[in-house]
């Protein structure tokens, strides 16, 4: 099964619009994906036909809303191979999912002298929560380094993992596209008796994902990068860990009993979902999982490997030495995230010129400043691909880069 991008594109209303007189060329899906009509319709339908608070009312539409939301949880669980929907905790985004772990599991289990291992690839979302803990207690942060192609250097992990309580790392870099060997790292971490958290924000939307096969204890990802709405993210965790963890935020929904003397927590997954949840967004995420399942995640991955290969080849042919693309050179070992430097043109100026051609790319540090420091740059331009992109989008990017070269020819 291969993707018919023309058909796929037609399902995303935003991609019909023009920007600065050009048909939009959206190449920033690593920041957020566009949304297919089915997701927007599912959210609208909830508001127009069954809007009611969940897990409370006995009336018909409250029951329908509850069932629709919990069906979405099951869809997400199935989509990532979670053994049980009770292990799928909804959060606002991946950042909140990781903070949930640092603030509950971390506070209960990380003590003075403990070690947390991260990698140089990490997004700030998987750095700062651990630095916050490390600022409160004496926790040592260690970093798995990268090589010149942005791949993790694992030669020294026995030493790095020695005495570690937690290994937290990205499954796919949001800057370099590097796909990390999650299973091997998780196994090595478990051999060292460490718990494993995987930031799968870039993996789940693009690569068939089975949380059990990854071998992780926690997996965090977000809805809005996988065709879903903003405001909904996911933490998957192993049941025994989730059950042993203290609650995150306190309030309604997360309790079984409250008296003046205290409270008891609700069962999973609601134990970690205080307050009225993002009902419409959850339902939208369920529709997004359905959408990606119907495209076929194997087909999605195959499409992106082939389009990434085309992009690497075309951009190198057209721009030669002027263009430096960071990250692994082999398309099969990376996602469709292309960070690049173009001549001496600053990424802000590159993206400004590209915008005049209707081409949307990201410029900046991509919330990965430690990685930027390792790469020796302040910022990069980044083009990232998804199901609706095709070769014409790469060609448009290449043409627009010529415009940047003309404008800034030194």
């Amino acid at each position: 099964m291969t993707l018919d991008t023309a058909t796929v594109k037609a399902d995303f209303p935003l991609l019909e619009r023009e920007v600065n007189g050009h048909q939009i060329v959206y190449l920033d899906s690593a920041a957020t994906s566009q949304k297919p009509r089915v997701v927007l319709d599912a959210m609208n339908e909830y508001y127009e036909t069954i809007n009611a608070n969940v897990h409370r009312g006995a009336y018909t539409i409250a029951d329908l809303a509850t069932r629709r939301m919990e069906a979405a949880r099951q869809k997400v669980a199935t989509f990532v191979g979670a053994p049980s929907a009770a292990e799928v905790i909804f959060t606002r985004n991946a950042t909140e999912a990781i903070n949930l772990v640092s603030q509950t599991w971390g506070r209960a289990n990380l003590h003075d002298g403990d070690v947390v291992v991260l990698t140089e690839l990490e997004h700030h979302a998987n750095i700062v929560p651990w630095q916050i803990l490390a600022s409160e207690r004496d926790i040592e942060l260690r970093w798995i380094p990268i090589d010149d192609q942005g791949r993790l250097v694992l030669d020294d992990i026995d030493r790095l993992f020695d005495g570690a309580s937690l290994v937290a790392f990205s499954a796919m870099s949001n800057v370099l596209g590097t796909i990390t060997p999650v299973r091997a790292i998780a196994d090595a971490a478990h051999d060292a008796d460490a718990i494993v958290l995987v930031d799968a924000s870039q993996l789940v939307p693009h690569v068939p994902t089975d949380v059990e096969a990854l071998g992780a204890d926690f997996v965090a990802f977000t809805g809005h990068k996988m065709c879903g709405p903003t405001g909904i993210g996911v933490l998957w965790g192993r049941r025994e860990l989730l059950e042993a963890m203290p609650p995150f935020m306190g309030g309604g929904e997360m309790i079984l009993q409250v008296t003046k003397e205290g409270f008891t927590t609700n069962e999973l997954p609601w134990k970690f979902e205080a307050g009225t949840p993002a009902i419409a967004e959850t339902i939208g995420l369920g529709a997004a999982a359905d959408c990606l399942t119907s495209l076929g995640m194997d087909a999605v991955r195959e499409h992106e490997v082939s389009l990434t290969a085309y992009a690497l080849r075309t951009l190198a042919e057209n721009h030669g030495d002027k263009l430096r693309i960071f990250g692994p050179s082999e398309p099969a070992s990376r996602g469709g995230v292309l960070s690049f430097e173009f001549a001496d043109v600053h990424p802000h100026d590159v993206s400004q010129v590209l915008d005049q051609h209707g081409v949307c790319v990201r410029a900046g540090h991509h919330c990965a400043k430690p990685l930027m420091q390792v790469l020796g740059v302040n910022a990069t331009s980044r083009a990232s691909l998804y199901v609706y992109n095709d070769e014409s989008d790469i060609d448009a990017l290449s043409t627009a880069l010529d415009g940047a070269a003309d404008m800034f020819a030194f």
Binding site: G21, H346, H348, D349, Q352, G364, K369, N378, A379, F408
Partner: protein
Amino acid sequence: MPGLEDLYREIILDHYRSPRNRGELETPPAHRSEGFNPLCGDEVVVYVDVDDERVINDVRIGGQGCSISQSSASMMSAAIKGKTVEEAREITRAFKAMMSIHEHELGGEVGSGEIDGEIALGDLEALRGVVKFPVRIKCATLSWNTLTQGLDEVTAEP
């Protein structure tokens, strides 16, 4: 629809390609201040050498950034060199007024949007087009905010 020619005026590109007063000054006697744009990671370093008469005898610019932030810093250095601290503050106010047309929308300070008629901005007028690209206003004002911070620190010193 604003075009790129509104943003990338020739004089801006000239300052970007050949930045004026680039480098460092020995501290002390000069004063060093540093500014960051958290959005893009750009950084600017402003060195000012202010004498007892409150005249900015020398200024140097370090750091790295996009064409707008770098050219703005270059033009700023040329505009304030040899001026008094008070004159430099006046130019800063006039420049920020030119930039602030959109600043209140971004949650920043509210400006009149009018340029003080008494202050001649010279080359800096070329940056007027930046206001049509609100995302870039922070690029243009980075060095000015850093200068203000530096002058505040210099004049606060006993």
